[in-house]
């Protein structure tokens, strides 16, 4: 094997170089582990760069009444109480420390009058809580982490895609990957693997997500025997661009509403008064997305099928200062000057609350040696994520995953690699080259996106989802028979053929989980079951690989301690 494949060995292999992966790598390096970071893209291009609004952390720099308890309460309420309470508690308690640390590593946040980190309002947060850098907070975070990691000395394997996790007698042992540039395979042997691969948005056509978001981490973990959880909870961000067609789905940051942006329908009505008169535009994302969708569906949408979002009542200089990339995005891509007139916005597939099931303290999955953090992991956000809680999630649980992965690596012996698993992964990855006259993988992808958009979108019914399962089975068959042309050298058609499998696995998991959850909760809205069901409010859906079929069962949420119940009971 060693002759046949380029092989690298690390204590900790981190898959994904976004905020969670980099933070995990930094922590594991700090523990003295040898760390490899594998990334599908170049370093510094991860989806985290697109995070705009800020990092939620109860620093209480602007609103002195804030603290971890209100942050915990907001997160649980936003997640409709389906969150893993321990993760929500750790997240609220540790986020301020993680932000301060980031500042001490060189991140430059916007400042308060008295020289501290400035915080802004955001949907679902009781206090002004989001530490931010204009509307490019994610870029600041990525650069800061990237530079620190590079300086500490991790090995980065850029433009390298994992196709299979390797196991050794029930524990994770490494991964098989290929270099995008050459198409050659590479084997990673590792005592611990951290999945920080982000979400699954590319299974929908209207999405704010980049090409990388194909659910690889979740699908790889599932194939290797780890459990997935809460897969029915897919967040549609209320404000994506809707016009022109080429830009459909590109994110319009929630910071526009955080800074005072107002939503109106075609008739000029401020329609959030009807859906959430208390929080209005700063209601949670699930509520605002459904409200816009309903306005459009009932004939009160804008010319291009969205709602108007207006910030032009604020001084032009203020808008340009606080929302510079939104100003440029609309000016350059839509010919709209947002300091003078409204934007047209509508829901866009944005974030996956579900993912790899992990243990709260260590971020370890049900497969020993496999850890997960950030969007790839489930639990923190429950049925709906609050804006700003993603970047803090990356820092808090990225760090925890890195720490636990390094400790795990100290405790276990080097794994053995199984030649047969590697061989099987290799043949499967190359299948599309060996098949003649099959379909273009991009055609299968387009049809998958149509199925998910029309049948497993914002509003769901039993009938639609049963149909979706039939369609997904046909698509799985088609995906197994695609053909690719050209060589293995940087061949996007081939990459798509491989990623299709991940997208189909997670799409099936989403649909199966959504079909059985006969209630509406957070981001999961059933037309046939419009109300929350008290019994479902106590249960998580768990997905696992049951032979060649997808297993699904319910597990009762862990019991919350009385102290935390007390925090939730306070009416604030």
């Amino acid at each position: 094997m060693s002759e046949r494949f380029e092989t690298h060995e690390h204590d900790v292999l981190v898959v994904g170089a976004g905020g969670a992966g980099l933070r995990a790598a930094i922590e594991a390096l700090g523990q003295g582990a040898s760390v490899g970071v594998v990334s599908k893209s170049l370093l510094g291009k991860a989806h985290t760069v697109m995070a705009e609004g800020g990092i939620a952390a109860a620093m209480a720099n602007v609103d002195s009444a804030d603290g971890w308890k209100p942050h915990f309460r907001d997160t649980m309420r936003g997640g409709k109480m389906l969150n893993n309470w321990r993760m929500a508690e750790l997240h609220a308690q540790e986020a301020p420390e993680r932000v301060k640390e980031l500042e001490q590593w060189g991140a430059l946040f916007d400042r308060t009058e008295d020289g501290r980190i400035l915080q802004r309002a955001f949907g679902g947060h009781t206090f002004r809580r989001l530490c931010h850098v204009g509307d490019r907070t994610g870029l600041e975070m990525i650069r800061t982490l990237q530079d620190r990691g590079v300086n500490m000395g991790f090995d980065v394997y850029m433009e390298c895609t994992i196709v299979r996790l390797l196991t050794d007698g029930g524990r994770c042992a490494g991964a098989l990957a290929y270099w995008r540039e050459t198409g050659r395979f590479v084997v990673f042997k590792a005592k611990s693997v951290v999945m920080a691969t982000g979400g699954i948005g590319k299974a929908w056509p209207i999405t704010s997500n980049s090409w990388e978001y194909t659910g690889d981490g979740m699908a790889l973990a599932y194939e290797a025997g780890a459990e997935l959880m809460d897969m029915e909870f897919v967040q549609f961000h209320p404000t994506g661009m809707v016009w022109p067609p080429g830009v459909q789905g590109i994110l319009v940051t929630e910071a526009v509403r955080g800074e005072g942006g107002i939503l109106r329908n075609k008739a000029g009505e401020r329609f959030m008064e009807r859906y959430d008169p208390k929080k209005m535009e700063l209601s949670t994302r699930d509520v605002v997305a459904r409200s816009i969708y309903t306005e459009v569906k009932e004939g009160r949408g804008t010319e291009h099928g969205g709602a108007y979002l207006d910030i032009s009542h604020k001084p032009a200089e203020y808008v340009k200062k606080k929302l510079p990339s939104m100003y440029h995005q609309f000016k350059e891509l839509a010919d709209v000057d947002i300091t003078k007139g409204p934007m047209e916005v509508g829901p866009t597939c944005h974030y996956m609350m579900g993912g790899i099931r992990v243990e709260a303290e260590t971020a370890q999955s049900s497969l020993p040696g496999l850890f997960a953090a950030g969007e790839a992991a489930a639990g923190l956000h429950g049925a709906n994520r609050l804006g700003g809680n993603s970047l803090s999630d990356l820092l808090v649980f990225g760090r925890r995953a890195g720490l636990a992965a390094a400790q795990h690596a100290k405790e276990v012996s080097a794994p053995n690699l199984d030649e047969r698993q590697i061989g099987a992964g290799e043949s499967e990855a190359l299948r599309a080259f060996q098949q003649q006259g099959g379909e273009n993988p991009y055609a299968v992808h387009r049809d998958l996106q149509k199925v998910m958009q029309s049948l497993v979108g914002i509003f769901r019914t039993r009938e639609d989802m049963q149909k979706a399962l039939d369609e997904l089975a046909k698509l799985q068959e088609r995906a197994a028979h695609t053909s690719v042309e050209g060589s293995r050298m940087f061949n996007p058609g081939w990459h798509m053929a491989i990623e299709l499998k991940s997208m189909l696995t997670v799409s099936e998991a989403v649909t199966r989980s959504a079909l059985v959850r006969e209630e509406s909760r957070g981001a999961h809205s059933r037309i046939d079951f419009p109300e929350p069901g008290p019994e479902w409010g106590k249960k998580n859906n768990i997905i696992w690989r049951d032979g060649s079929a997808m297993g699904l069962r319910q597990e009762t949420l862990p019991e919350m301690p009385a102290e935390l119940k007390g925090i939730l009971a306070e009416d604030k």
């Binding site: 893209s41 170049l42 370093l43 291009k45 991860a46 760069v49 697109m50 301060k100 500042e103 001490q104 590593w105 060189g106 430059l108 916007d110 400042r111 009058e113 008295d114 020289g115 400035l118 850098v133 204009g134 490019r136 870029l139 600041e140 650069r143 800061t144 530079d147 620190r148 590079v150 540039e181 980049s210 090409w211 990388e212 022109p244 067609p245 080429g246 830009v247 590109i250 994110l251 990339s325 440029h328 995005q329 350059e332 891509l333 839509a334 273009n440 993988p441 991009y442 387009r446 690719v484 042309e485 050209g486 060589s487 050298m489 940087f490 061949n491 996007p492 058609g493 081939w494 798509m496």
Partner: protein, 245 residues
């Protein structure tokens, strides 16, 4: 719907040629959309780098009609109608395949730069006016368009002696950070070769983030180098002090 003709470079480091593709045009379409159409319908193996498609990641740089641009921000309706649109890889970096180039040199340069080093005893209280200037440099999305147009690299191949505008911007972001205590002027002079820049501002012109690379980063850094290494008064004082000690 009208069709546009794209002439896209197809090939590797060993050579290649422009290949024509006809692509249907939709309102507001950008060049990256056209490249995606080609991948999806005509040539699935066309190699293109991209990530966010929203001007925030800096991955999709190419030379469109001879001009270095982010293809995700280059609208088809802003280009001359009824003429083929040429899309070529960045010239300054070696081609890997089609529009994908080998930009690894940039990552090597980056490693030479000493990291953010907090001043001893910093209290971490500083103000918006302290960060306004530095935040400009930190907007950089590493699209490497500035590196691509810089003649020190593009025409004179000074990869060994020169860092390029991107890394002057990065050094400026560190040097002018209100809490940073390290000095990188010697590095600028000796390893990043800032003296080779003759401030023609080509980099500033192509920056999609509108960073005033030349005026706000390079010139102030050149001044720091001059103050430290070439100021005659300082030089004399140093000589005397050096002799005394």
């Amino acid at each position: 719907m009208a069709d546009a003709t794209l002439k896209v470079f197809r090939g590797t480091k060993d050579g290649g040629k422009d290949v024509e593709f006809k692509v249907p045009v939709a309102p507001g379409m950008v060049v990256l959309d056209a490249l995606h159409y080609i991948q999806g319908h005509l040539a699935p193996d066309l190699a293109v780098r991209w990530n966010c498609k929203a001007g925030k990641c800096g991955s999709c740089s190419a030379e469109v009609n001879g001009r270095p641009r982010l293809t995700c921000k280059t609208r088809m309706d802003a280009l001359p109608p009824n003429e083929p649109i040429t899309v070529m890889p960045l010239k300054t970096f070696p081609v890997i395949k089609d529009l994908v180039t080998d930009v690894s040199w940039n990552y090597k340069v980056n490693k030479k730069i000493p990291p953010f080093t907090p001043k001893a005893g910093a209290d971490w209280k500083f103000y918006q006016e302290d960060v306004d200037r530095v935040q400009e440099f930190r907007k950089c999305i590493e699209c490497f368009l500035c590196q691509n147009v810089c003649h020190v690299l593009r025409d004179h191949d000074k990869y060994e002696q020169f860092g390029g505008p991107r890394f002057f911007v990065r050094v400026a972001g560190l040097e002018m950070h209100p809490m940073d205590g390290a000095s990188r002027t010697k590095l600028l002079k000796d390893e990043l070769g800032i003296g080779l820049c003759n401030i023609t501002k080509c980099c500033t012109e192509v920056c999609p983030e509108d960073i005033h690379i030349t005026d706000n980063a390079i010139i102030p850094l050149k001044e720091r180098v001059v103050d430290q290494f070439y100021d005659p008064l300082v030089w004399i004082v140093r000589k005397i002090r050096g002799a005394a000690s």
